[in-house]
């Protein structure tokens, strides 16, 4: 009797899960497996569905490709610089926002604006800020000149200048979401803890470090993980800033490399693209897992 009921429930559950499983399977799991297989098929041609052999050649090629190495370097720089920076600044701003009362909503709205703005439109604004043209050196260069420095070509100039613009842009774009999450996390901390700490004579800084931070640490951790994943997948922002010929600009990212291998001017190599995609997947997986491992020791509840 009980067993029959249980089996019925099982069947029903599968029925309800079916639409989701179907879509996930067709559009996520199947392509993932497919890409994994392609990455081992040497010289796969998607038109004729043929390949020469099976092996690790694709990986070897990608790992020896200087464009790929450049893309990996760019991506890692972007991740390492922007994730801690944006999270830190967002935390500062959220703490500031939570401690003021008047105009708080206004500031919250202003800080949220970049989130709802189109990537390409923002890219255009950054062009105006940074790009050197025949008529103007851009707003930022005007500022630098004002302080007595020489103009820097941020868009077509030296590598560090371009990296700076990219990081600046990324930090600015991801900030609103982080501020939103952190302000809500801060407001969810029960004020009674602060009262208790005040009675015990806790200094403001210690209160922040010993009470606020641990209390919102799960949210910070969530932001760091999603930040890592987001930064590893950077592509459209780079295109918005530096155009589509990213290899020439030395500003390609891993996702950009995958795209170029598939559809770029020198593209048409699904095998190489698959191998690069699998490598990216492996990197993100490793970092996320190690993040989870670290956090399970550091995050308290």
């Amino acid at each position: 009797m009980i067993r029959k009921k249980f089996r019925d429930n099982g069947l029903k559950a599968w029925l309800y899960l079916l639409p989701a499983i179907l879509f996930l399977g067709v559009f996520m799991v199947y392509p993932l497996i497919d890409v994994f297989i392609y990455s081992f098929e040497e010289g796969y041609n998607s038109a004729s569905q043929t390949y020469f052999g099976v092996g690790l050649y694709n990986y070897s090629y990608v790992l020896h490709d200087s464009y790929f190495l450049q893309a990996v370097k760019n991506t890692f720089l972007l991740v390492i610089i922007t994730v801690p920076l944006s999270t830190g600044i967002a935390l500062l701003i959220s703490v500031g926002l939570s401690s003021i009362k008047p105009l708080r909503n206004l500031f919250q709205t202003i800080y949220f604006l970049p989130y709802v703005t189109n990537t390409l439109a923002v890219g255009l604004v950054f062009m105006i800020l940074f790009k050197k043209t025949a008529y103007s050196d851009g707003l930022v260069n005007l500022l630098i000149n004002w302080f007595g420095g020489g103009s820097v070509d941020f868009i077509d100039g030296p590598y560090w200048a371009k990296m700076f613009v990219l990081c600046f842009y990324t930090v600015w774009v991801v900030m609103p979401f982080k501020i939103l999450i952190l302000t809500s996390a801060l407001s969810s901390v029960d004020p009674v803890y602060y009262n208790a700490a005040r009675v015990d004579g806790t200094s403001g800084f210690r209160m922040f470090r010993k009470i606020t931070l641990p209390m919102i640490s799960p949210m910070i951790f969530y932001l760091v993980i999603t930040g890592f994943i987001g930064a590893f997948k950077a592509y459209s922002d780079v295109v918005a800033l530096f155009g589509t010929n990213l290899n020439a600009a030395e500003m390609n990212t891993i996702v950009g490399y995958v795209y170029d291998m598939l559809y770029g001017d020198s593209g048409g190599y699904p095998s190489y693209a698959s191998a690069a995609a699998i490598l990216l997947f492996a990197i993100v997986l490793t970092i996320t897992c190690s993040n989870l491992l670290i956090s399970s020791k550091k995050i308290h509840y």
């Binding site: 803890y193 015990d200 004579g201 200094s203």
Partner: protein, 366 residues
């Protein structure tokens, strides 16, 4: 440390858009708490007792009036400089810290010459933990503790820096009935052992009566009566205090005094020779009824509850302002299960109050 409150008043700005008058949470509170006493602030919710506690703690500032700890005027001092230990209603233990870290927290805040060495801190923490008997729980997190254990940790954390005054906000309200009994004894014991002046807030009169050296009954921000629990119980100054103290609650009747006799309904129940003729509220404690076949007060019996230790007689009377008249009598009495039960009244358990101001009308008990 004695705590002196002088004309303490706290007004909060009215939030209602239509009525912008201030809300007076505490109104002109003057009281001198002797050193080493356990004081219960008692009243229904919204009576200003928690506000009073927060004023003493320094978490909120009074609108007017002064607070002294001994000779020191602490009115303008922030909470951290007052030397108080505060136990919050929900304990406010830091959930991410262990019991040990929670207790150490106030000590780690000390700076300069007050700063203790690591081993001194450990020693003090262990001492505080020993006082509330939680030594074996030191490495646990708060969520791994029962409510009663959390309460003890909170008290240990409040005591560890050796405060001059200990403040407890509804210390027992989050505990179940059994634990409540046990914990209130515990609070009493800790307070006696440390000799620290302690003020606690409660809405439970039984709790306040059972452990306080003195209780303060408050209503709408105004102190009604201050005194030893038994004194206040035996001698309430007004109807509110009489009704607030005691379980089961006092029985209130519409009464009349005519020619030196108290009438409830048409029955003259008590001699009150020195009271002028007037309408009164006559309040009788449940233990003030004596079942007597020829007793002057007759009530329609609705039920008899045998409690073991005593008997609770539930009856009805037309003049009663309570839904039922409840009398507690000894088990040696027999109540005939008739339709009418008759009582004589113990004069010391009967209080008369004015119908307008609800103030007590004294009369001589013969």
């Amino acid at each position: 440390m004695e705590v002196i409150l002088q004309n303490l008043t706290k007004k909060f700005p009215g939030r209602d858009r239509k009525r912008r008058e201030d809300v007076i949470a505490v109104n002109d509170f003057t009281f001198e708490i002797p050193d080493g006493e356990l004081i219960g602030l008692l009243g229904p919710s919204g009576c200003g007792k928690s506000t009073t506690l927060n004023l003493i703690s320094g978490l909120i500032k009074p609108t007017s009036g002064r607070i002294f700890f001994g000779e020191d005027d602490v009115t303008d001092l922030p909470p951290e400089n007052r030397g108080i230990g505060l136990v919050f209603q929900n304990y406010a233990l830091y959930p991410h810290l262990t019991v040990r870290q929670n207790i150490l927290f106030p000590l780690e805040n000390l700076k300069g010459k007050d700063r203790l060495t690591k081993s001194q801190m450990e020693e003090r923490a262990l001492q505080a933990a020993g006082l509330v008997q939680i030594e074996e729980l030191m490495e646990r997190k708060p969520k791994e503790l029962s409510g009663g254990q959390q309460q003890r940790v909170a008290i240990a954390r409040a005591l560890v820096k050796r405060p001059r005054v200990l403040l407890l906000d509804e210390p027992l309200s989050n505990l179940d009935a059994r634990l409540r009994l046990q914990t209130r004894e515990e609070i009493r014991r800790i307070q006696k052992e440390t000799g620290i002046t302690t003020i606690f807030v409660t809405h439970d009169q039984e709790e306040a009566m059972s452990i306080s050296d003195r209780i303060v009954v408050m209503r709408d921000g105004v102190v009604q009566q201050i005194g030893k629990p038994q004194e206040v119980y035996d001698n309430p100054v007004n109807l509110f205090v009489a009704k607030f103290l005691g379980t089961p609650p006092i029985n209130v009747f519409d009464g009349r005094v005519r020619g030196g006799k108290l009438y409830i309904g048409e029955e003259a129940v008590l001699d009150v020779a020195d009271v002028p003729d007037q309408s009164v509220y006559a309040a009788v404690r449940p233990e003030g009824f004596l079942p007597a076949g020829d007793g002057p007060l007759s009530c329609a019996l609705t039920g008899v509850e045998v409690m073991g230790r005593d008997i609770s007689v539930v009856s009805k009377n037309k003049a009663s302002l309570n839904p039922a008249v409840r009398a507690i009598i000894g088990t040696e009495n027999r109540v005939d299960r008739g339709a009418i039960v008759r009582f004589a009244l113990k004069p010391g358990k009967v209080f008369l109050f004015r119908t307008d101001s609800e103030q007590r009308i004294p009369f001589e008990v013969k």
